[in-house]
């Protein structure tokens, strides 16, 4: 008989609700929380607006102190990280020093610190890494005296790059923790 084979074989309490920022029309159009609620591309406010720190020819001085524009332009809303790292380098600490001073000046403001990664990692690991980056920034601000109850964290992992490129230039921009002013509705 022929046979083929024998082998068988954060806790985001939406602090906006309890913050006491006065109604501020000027700040209304800036980046804020809630981007993922609507899902329509292009309609959401942009996470990546205000990438650049202040330069001479921009609107320096035009932003009203204490507004998100003021924070983004005059303070710097984000810090960057090395690959697979949540260590704060000198530049990052300098930015966070300014953030702490600003937050101590405008004590009614609450923020959400968003942690992001580049795409060189698994999706799940990057969610954890993004959280670690957000926590690193938050811990540093706490050490400088900012009240922990004013700061929430959230991780976006690799889901919301600011630069869609696939090279180190893009990745450097995407490995970030962004301090976002919580807007009061």
């Amino acid at each position: 008989m022929p046979r083929l084979s024998a082998a068988l074989p954060a806790l985001l309490l939406l602090l906006a609700a309890c913050a006491s920022t006065p109604e501020d029309e000027i700040g209304g159009g800036a980046a804020g929380t809630g981007e993922f609620g609507n899902g329509a591309p292009g309609s959401a406010t942009e996470l990546g607006s205000a990438e650049e720190p202040a330069t001479e020819n921009d609107v320096f001085g035009s932003a009203v102190p204490g507004t998100p524009e003021d924070f983004e332009i005059n303070v710097g809303d984000r810090v960057f990280f090395a690959f697979d790292s949540s260590t704060l380098d000198d530049d990052a600490r300098a930015t966070l020093d300014r953030q702490a001073a600003w937050l101590q000046q405008f004590r009614e403001i609450t923020v959400t610190i968003e942690g992001h990664t580049d795409e060189r990692g698994t999706r799940e690991y990057n969610l954890a890494l993004g959280e670690r980056r957000a926590a690193a920034a938050r811990n540093y601000l706490v050490a400088l005296g900012v009240d922990p109850s004013r700061m929430l964290t959230i991780s976006y992992g690799e889901e919301r790059p600011v630069d869609p490129g696939n090279d180190e230039t893009a990745y450097r921009q995407n490995r970030r923790a962004v301090t976002v002013i919580n807007l009061v509705n």
Binding site: L4, G34, G39, P41, T112, T122, L152, S155
Partner: protein, 462 residues
């Protein structure tokens, strides 16, 4: 799934153990009643011998003939042809069979209602032959499908089954028939009567819109489960096939949701202090594993939805995430950077007895324990590429089976052989699902309407 199907008892057992196993599975099933057929040919005490040897690394596909099923009228014959085509596509896609072109068949489907004239099948080198009949037992919306699997060289019947079903369920029956054939000829678990749940994505990379979707393993019966309003990630289907756990990256607080497939309704899995993600079902379908990230640390927790009790399994300052249960539920493989960079570790289900199992260069992640227990698939990033790899549960015999700019998130079919994963092509900004044999052969793209990622291959449907 309809529950009003008539249950049928096994009438004949030519190979008692195997038939009993199949029958139990089929009879427990809600949708289709099945039973073994009495043999057409004179009963023989000899066992059929045709069997695919898949113990070696590279497999020569087995030539097999799949005849369209016979039918009394054109509509039944259409169904019989469609059934044969679904079975053919399944067997071909497995990489283990070569279905011989129908143009080479001499006997027509009607003459195959009787015992085949094997002499007419041997010249085309068919090792096995599938025949059958589709009939209408009475009601217009019901079908009876009989099929038989023959060993062409010995002339023996290897398997015969009868299914009684709602006519609309014919495609599922075709998958179940494919599973019977696959299992009988390979000795491995079938995997065709399964679903793949995944994340469908559209929009620019900086603002992707993601929706949960589910489809049969061959891409048919596709449907979207969420509307894109939430950013959804990493779905997993429960062993009962009725629920999907997934992660929603929603402000102010991301969370794990549990969807009931029948109603389409989702509820939050539970209230946790940090950000909870990576939901995984235990093999028994009850307990779950998840990651909770808080204060810069990510740890793995067990969660019992019945008692709402959460138990911490890892306790380090590092990232511990991406847990996956062994099929017996006793061990867990996970991803941790406690050693400095992301590697793979295993532990007992209570968190004890931790062992590192990956040691090569690069970053490892997203481990998935095979349903047969003998292998762990994973993602490894090294040399500027993402790879899917496999290793034994103690880390032995690691092999990388794919390489591209971005390959990740492997998930096993119940065969314990086929793996589905995500491949992103950055040049074309195109992300799709692919399947591959754990040997590294038989790479195939899975047809999806839009870009696709985060696949989870279900177990055999109950």
């Amino acid at each position: 799934m309809r529950r009003d199907e008539r249950m049928v008892r096994v009438t004949t057992r030519r190979e008692p153990a195997t038939v009993r196993d199949w029958s139990r599975r089929q009879i427990l099933a809600g949708g289709v009643a099945a039973c073994a057929l009495p043999a057409l040919a004179a009963p023989s005490t000899a066992l059929a011998q045709v069997r695919l040897d898949i113990t070696r690394g590279v497999v020569e596909p087995m030539p097999i003939a799949v005849s369209p099923l016979a039918g009394d009228d054109p509509s039944l014959r259409d169904t019989g042809l469609a059934l044969a085509e679904v079975v053919t596509a399944n067997l071909e896609r497995s990489g283990l069979f070569r279905v011989i072109d129908r143009m080479a068949y001499i006997q027509d489907p009607e003459s195959l209602r009787e015992t085949p004239r094997f002499a007419e099948w041997r010249p085309i080198n068919a090792q096995a032959l599938v025949t059958g009949v589709v009939s209408r037992p009475g009601a217009a919306d019901r079908l009876t499908i009989e099929f038989r699997l023959w060993d062409v060289f010995s002339g023996l019947e290897m398997r015969g089954m009868r299914y009684e079903l709602a006519a609309s369920n014919w495609r599922r029956t075709a998958h179940q028939i494919s599973d019977v054939i696959y299992e009988r000829l390979t000795g491995e678990p079938g995997y065709f009567d399964t679903k793949i749940v995944y994340v469908s994505q559209t929009g620019p990379k900086t603002q992707r819109v993601k929706r949960l979707a589910i489809m049969d393993q061959d891409g048919h019966d596709h449907r979207f489960l969420t509307d894109g309003g939430d950013l959804v990630l990493t779905p997993q289907i429960a062993p009962d096939g009725r629920r999907i756990a997934y992660f929603v990256l929603r402000t102010p607080k991301p969370r794990i949701m549990l969807m009931d497939l029948a109603s389409g309704r989702s509820n939050e899995l539970g209230q946790f202090s940090g950000m909870s993600f990576t939901p995984r079902f235990a093999p028994d379908g009850n307990q779950m594993l998840l990651t909770i990230a808080e204060g810069g640390k990510s740890d793995i927790f067990a969660f019992d939805p019945a008692t709402r009790r959460t138990t911490q399994l890892t306790r380090t300052a590092a990232i511990d995430t991406s847990p996956s249960f062994s099929p017996d539920g006793r061990r867990i493989v996970f991803n941790s950077d406690r050693g400095g960079s992301p590697h793979l570790y295993t532990m007992d289900r209570d968190g004890s007895n931790v062992q590192r199992i990956s040691f090569e260069r690069g970053q490892y992640g997203s481990p998935a324990w095979s349903p047969r227990g003998d292998m762990i698939a994973f993602t490894r990033i090294t040399g500027g590429f993402f790879h899917i790899g496999v290793m034994e549960p103690d880390g032995a015999n690691e092999r990388l089976i794919t390489r591209s700019a971005f390959d990740e998130s492997p998930s096993w079919a119940p065969s314990g052989r086929h793996i589905v994963f995500t491949r992103e092509d950055p040049q074309r900004d195109r992300t799709r699902l692919f399947t591959i044999d754990s040997s590294g052969h038989n790479l195939r793209e899975v047809a999806t309407p839009l870009d696709a990622s985060d696949p989870d291959w279900s177990g055999l449907l109950p």
